[in-house]
Amino acid sequence: MVERDEARLLDFNVSRRAFLGASAGLTFAITLGLGGAGGARKAHAAGGAHALNAYVSIEPNGTIRIQAPAPEMGQGVMTGLPLIVAEELDADWSRVVVEQSPIAPAYHHPIFKAQYVVASISTLGYFMPLRVAGAQARRVLIDAVAEKWGVPAAELATEPSTVVHAASGRKISYGEVAAFAKPPAHPPKIDPAKDLKPGDRFRLIGRPVERVDVVAKSTGRAAYGIDARVPGMAYATLVRAPVRGSGPMSANADAVRKLPGVVDVVMLGHGVAVVADTFAAALKARRQLKVEWKKGLPGDAIDTDRDLEKYLADGRDMKHTGVVFHSAGDAAGAIKGAARVMVGEYLSDHVYHAQMEPMNSTASVRPDGVDIWVGTQAPTRTTLDVAAALGIGADKVHVHQHFLGGGFGRRATVEASVDAALIAKAVGRPVKLVLSREDDLAAGTFRPMTTQRIEAGLDASGRIVGWRQRVVGELVGDFVYQPGYVEKSKNRDVIFMSGAMLPYYEKVANVQSEHVREPERTRVAAWRGIGSGYTKFAIESMIDEIAHAQKADPLAYRLSLTDHPRARRVLEKVAEMSGWGKQRASGTALGLAFAEYGLFAPKIGSLVAAVAEISVDRRSGRIRVHNYWAAADAGLVVNPAGFQAQMESAIVWGLSSALKEQVTMTNGVVQQSNFHEYNILRMSEVPAIHVEILRGPPPPTMVGELGVPSAAPAIANAFFALTGKRLRHVPFTPARVQAALKA
């Protein structure tokens, strides 16, 4: 297990300005050993190239290699992070070659102390260390030229990939410097307060840059985990126990072993693997596999429809106390003394990541060491968990990071690699483990279903004086990390409760949110947008209900709740973009939603306001979203092109989950098997998407999930504007829409 100290995470108390300030920024300036793993590897390979530190090496021909420390899963970090290095290095971006870095401490994310991409904080976390790395490499070049030319370093400046001595008019390219420069014994120290560029001198940061991985991904050359090939490897597929904590009691292993091409059937604690000479043979034999699973687990009794009713009852029963997640003022007291109390209930079903690349990992387990080829969000944890499973030292495990065919939280846990290693060890040869789509879904890790109950106390003039949000559902953090994890994290299950606060509606003085906990029975995970996907659905629907009850305009009502300039800016911007308040074509209506996003919100967070324009086919119950506008503020923007793409992606994700996605279970068993039953948004269902990026000061904050939370409430609020009816249960399937219309 990676040591990830949640308390430290949440006390990540750096003001937006301090990131560029003197002392606070320094804590992020990791020490960069010269010739770090990536640079050194390349220096050897390239012959004559100089590794200036762990991130940068420069070849005499002027090629600059920059290591990308974070796994690339479509979010664009393979472009955005090296861009930050290049900025401070003053590199000519057209001469930069980006490489996926090795898995090594030099590349750890400073908050996680690991290579780990979750919570949309790669750019936030790496921003300062990468600037320092770039500045340090630049300083090495300058010092080398100063010595060679016998001039003070202070007289030297840089232009893209060139050192310049203005006094004598001399110039020399970085490549030429690399040909003679010797890396110093002690890397120069960089003082972030003095030695980094002021923001107004950025040449690369803030301008749209094409992604470095797009050509490979348009020509079939990008290598994903599933594409790994190791000489002599066998292929495996795995059927995992359908219920959390269960495992095989018995299986028809002997019969399956006799099937064509089958190498072995391997019994694991939690599942059964079929290993064959080809993947086709493994899949075919898997269909013949019959397993008896251990009974008596809590999950055996899961029936999602019935359990949601129980969740609703628990949310209503105030004797069923919740664990406080966020509290300001005295919410209960204010509600008790309110002139009027409004209550809203909201539900959401389990949802599945449906990443397009099924879970897989390739392992070679030898006495001298273990190699793992995988696309993972958690390469450091892969190293540690595989080592623990095999009972060997972590230094014996080498993870080869590949592209991810989608992560979204599913690839933040590492069981595929642990399984692959155990199976490879059992059969004594390298193994590529790939789950079938059906097994990937049956053994999915889901954003858990929830019910929510919000009570809002209003005074005589209709102002909200008290707000209480009870969110009912299972713990997530303990399953993602380890039992007891949430308890140790101030008993706050951040993944589950994300978003259950009103930090930007600061005029609501008395606020409390609680996690009403249900028994842990389901395999659960972080899922793009985490808790904010449903907590903001409830909050923004409720705000809309209150606004309509006051006969107030939903935009004006929201603006009356906040004086925060950033919040007002996104709200006013999206109103302008969407023509809010203007007459619409008949049969369509607009709905508005606002959300902040981020684990550290409100200290550090991104903001979005969105408007959906919808129509409804009353016969079929189908909602059509015609237009979707979003105004987004994520502080300093590193690559606006990447930001734009991530907003579009997260909006489609949010719309998909709002309209279609649903996992149900009976007797603990997932009822959907493939994409014909687990429906995601298709091309014909995607609206025109309009995004405006509102720039802000450093640091660069969360982008990759920001588009998700506003989607469901924007649709539900538009539906109310159109029909006068409330949609309270995500997803808004045709049957639920029809039921709401009849209600």
Partner: protein
């Protein structure tokens, strides 16, 4: 043994005739640009051309390729600069990228028979190809661009 061509080169498979073409292409022949997403003709990630027609390789037995011309993303153009690929780059379509080989092969089959498809025709032709990263609008734009710039 089953013989056919892949991207203009002679290829043969020793696998049983009912083996899905997808696994022959990927594992036996090593063209890993073609992807596995569902194995059930539900996502389009495995789309290749057989004699110019788009097929879902995950449900096409290798025996159906006997004597035919199979084209994968690697063979769409020799240098990776098919008009669609240029358009894909210009529009910066891929995110995780996993679905994109299938998207491009599906789109190429459309443009081969309809040089100037309408937006509705594009959507209808592409609607079976899923993209979990939600790049659909960019895919539409890229196909329109490729049709225009050819």
């Amino acid at each position: 043994m089953i013989q056919f061509t892949v991207n203009g080169e002679d290829a043969r498979s020793e696998q049983p005739p009912d083996t899905p073409l997808l696994w022959v292409i990927r594992d036996e022949l090593g063209y890993t640009g073609t992807k596995y997403g569902c194995g059930a003709a539900q996502c389009g990630a495995c789309t290749v051309h057989v004699d110019g027609q788009p097929v879902r390789a995950c449900v096409t037995p290798v025996s159906a390729a006997r004597g035919r011309k199979v084209t994968t993303i690697e063979g769409l153009s020799a240098t990776g600069d098919h008009p669609l690929q240029r358009a894909w780059i210009a529009e910066q379509v891929p995110q995780c990228g996993y679905c994109q080989s299938g998207q491009i092969m599906q789109a190429a089959a459309l443009l081969a028979k309809n040089k100037r498809p309408t937006r509705a025709q594009i959507v209808q032709h592409m609607n079976g190809n899923l993209c979990r990263c939600g790049t659909y609008n960019r895919i539409v734009r890229a196909i329109e661009r490729a049709a225009q710039e050819g």
